[in-house]
């Protein structure tokens, strides 16, 4: 059963034209596969994270339909940005924390998850175990910055890339990911 906080997170993200779902650990791979199909993604760059390994994401997503790479993907900036190779790429990250009421995902830079993973790709899916949900930004930041050395970069992501610079009307897909999907893993 989905927690209230998980539903809050999805609702807040959806208000900003992102999407998401609350799933069990067994359902993650299928939900991820469906979302990648919906976006017609042909290349996936996965964070090198124990959670994705434990869920068997790399093996399950591979096959004929798409190329699956793990961070660091040994791609140049041009390929990461879609200027060369497939344009419909998707970065799959794992959030270190999230702020449920405001719909904010937190991605910590590390050896296995680069700073550009989610923003350089055309699409972004982030996995969030529900025990990492917080009810305030202060609580989430306190956890990241007080319980260990600070990450070199922490990215707070709350929406697909958007701009209101033309006639003050919000338009998606300025420079970062055109689509953002959160999968909250319950239990």
């Amino acid at each position: 059963m989905a927690t209230e906080a998980a539903q809050q997170l999805i609702a807040a993200l959806t208000r900003r034209r992102a999407s998401g779902a609350v799933v069990s650990a067994d359902e993650v791979v299928a939900a991820l596969d469906r979302q990648l199909d919906a976006w017609n993604v042909t290349r996936v760059v996965l964070a090198d994270d124990p959670l994705l390994e434990q869920l068997g994401v790399a093996d399950a997503l591979g096959g004929d339909r798409r190329e699956v790479l793990t961070w660091p993907p040994r791609l140049g900036a041009r390929e990461l940005l879609g200027l060369e190779g497939p344009a419909a790429t998707c970065g799959v990250s794992v959030s270190v924390a999230a702020v449920a009421p405001r719909g904010t995902l937190m991605l910590a830079a590390s050896t296995g998850q680069g700073r550009a993973l989610d923003a350089a790709a055309a699409y972004h899916v982030s996995l969030v175990p529900d025990d990492r949900l917080h009810d305030s930004l202060a609580g989430a930041l306190g956890q990241v910055y007080r319980e260990g050395p600070p990450p070199s970069a922490l990215s707070l992501v709350s929406a697909p890339s958007r701009t209101s610079d033309i006639e003050k009307i919000s338009t998606l897909g300025a420079h970062g990911a055109l689509g953002l999907h959160a999968l909250v893993i319950a239990g």
Partner: protein, 467 residues
């Protein structure tokens, strides 16, 4: 006066001339009305969803405390950031800050700089300095790129191209790319995305601003919605962040509150799309992120404001809310101000940063109705209307002696009830002689300057103006 004044030196005409021209531009006024209306709707939503007044009080307390502790916080920031491998340079003024970045670029053999939106670099005129040194500088925030292509200056702190509509943007994009560009918003955004990806991929240096620094961990925060801030700070080999020295708090509790308030006030949303919290260059085991991280902390007249009558201006978090709330800004837009900082906050900040002897910005504090809407809109409760009055006082000290004596005399007379009564009776008599259909449209002699741009009602409430 600073070697590089805050005001734009290439802006022509007087403030009055620029404002008059803007008032005659119907397209501009339509664009401004639409953007201010959109902001007001978002802000109303935030007021309904959150205890904005309580949050505002807390924001004011946090900023006031940070400014009081500024020297210690900057020391702590420098110590913590240096420990992560970052380099901190404290620049006394704009010239020193620009010199540092130009020398760094030359030393590293860079020829392309990708920039994300930054008011501090606009203030110090970093683009001009880099271009003078032969580097190519490309703004990557969509609005900043549009005005860079237009050869204009930003008209709003967070929405720099708000004065242009999509037809005008399409024309600029066609000129830049040499091909046809559809004038639909989605097509324009997609066009910019494609063009600027080449810049992200090849720039050797990324330059960003800093919305906030957090002393306790040595972190800078870059708040944005487009993702260009992330790409500029993650892909180039060198990241240079430029911050005004006051943009700092001590702890993550304080930072969290300001980071919550900022998008609420700026864009009427309870979270920005991307907030990039950066604590130094990439670590040895990481495969992306800049190899070098430089933080340039600009004083530029700020430390002289501490402890003085304008200290509260240092509390500003650059959300731009006071601009959208201001009847003057909504009428003429930001370009008329001739400064990166426009609207009420710019009308105070520009002259006080330039110092009392800078004449170019001295008119700005008078460009206000003193209605107080800016104070109401400010998420950290800066009494901008009071500061405008103080800035007017400072500007008046530079006026000719005859004018100052005249104003002193007027003040003395109208402070006296008898003299005030006589003045009122004389004014009423004058209104009967000069008024036409309830309005005085022209006063005689030197007073004519006052009515050259405004009419005076002879009755209250005023009669509807005749067409």
């Amino acid at each position: 006066m600073s070697e590089r004044p805050v005001s734009y030196e290439d802006v022509t005409g007087t403030l009055r001339e620029r404002a008059t021209e803007a008032l005659g531009d119907e397209q501009l006024r339509t664009n401004l009305r639409a953007s201010a209306g959109s902001w007001a709707a978002g802000r109303k939503r935030m007021d309904e969803q959150y205890p904005f007044q309580e949050m505002r009080e807390k924001g004011r307390e946090i900023r006031t405390r940070a400014v009081a502790e500024l020297p210690q916080l900057l020391d702590q920031l420098e110590e913590n950031l240096t420990a992560t491998g970052g380099v901190v340079y404290r620049a006394a003024d704009a010239a020193a800050a620009c010199r540092y970045v130009v020398e760094l670029a030359q030393r590293e053999g860079a020829d392309l700089v990708a920039k994300s939106k930054s008011m501090a670099t606009e203030e110090i005129k970093l683009n001009e300095a880099l271009e003078e040194a032969g580097l190519r500088v490309v703004e990557t925030d969509l609005g900043e790129w549009i005005i860079q292509l237009a050869g204009q200056h930003p008209s709003h702190i967070v929405a720099p191209a708000v004065h242009l509509n999509r037809e005008e943007v399409a024309d600029l994009f066609e000129q830049e790319s040499g091909g046809p560009v559809e004038n639909e918003r989605e097509a324009l955004v997609a066009h910019a995305r494609q063009r600027l990806r080449e810049v992200f991929a090849t720039a050797q240096i990324g330059v960003s601003g800093v919305n906030l620094a957090v002393a306790e961990s040595g972190t800078i925060c870059v708040v944005e919605n487009e993702g260009n801030g992330r790409l500029v700070t993650a892909l180039p080999r060198i990241h240079v962040a430029v911050m005004g020295m006051e943009r700092i708090v001590g702890s993550w509790e304080d930072a969290a509150h300001i980071l919550e308030l900022l998008p609420m006030a700026a864009i009427g949303d309870d979270a920005a799309g991307y907030v990039n919290l950066i604590t130094g260059p990439r670590r040895p085991d990481e495969t992306d992120g800049p190899e070098q991280f430089h933080l340039v902390i600009v004083d530029g007249g700020r430390s002289a404001l501490r402890g003085g009558p304008f200290e509260e201006i240092l509390n500003c978090i650059r959300c731009g809310a006071c601009l959208y709330a201001c009847p003057m800004w909504k009428s003429v837009g930001g370009q008329a101000y001739g400064s990166p900082y426009s609207g009420p906050i710019g009308a105070v900040l520009t002259p006080v940063l330039e110092g009392p002897h800078a004449s170019s910005a001295g008119q700005l504090p008078h460009f206000s109705s003193l209605c107080g809407a800016c104070h109401e809109a400010c998420p950290v409760g800066i009494p901008i209307h009071d500061l405008l009055v103080k800035a007017r006082g400072q500007a008046t000290e530079q006026r000719p002696r005859s004018e100052r004596v005249g104003m002193w005399l007027w003040s003395r007379l109208w402070s006296n009830p008898v003299a005030y009564g006589i003045g009122r009776r004389l004014a009423r008599a004058g209104a009967r002689v000069l008024g036409r259909r309830g309005w005085i449209e022209r006063l005689p002699g030197p007073a004519g300057a006052w009515t050259s741009q405004r009419d005076v009602p002879t009755t209250w409430p005023p009669k509807p103006p005749s067409s």
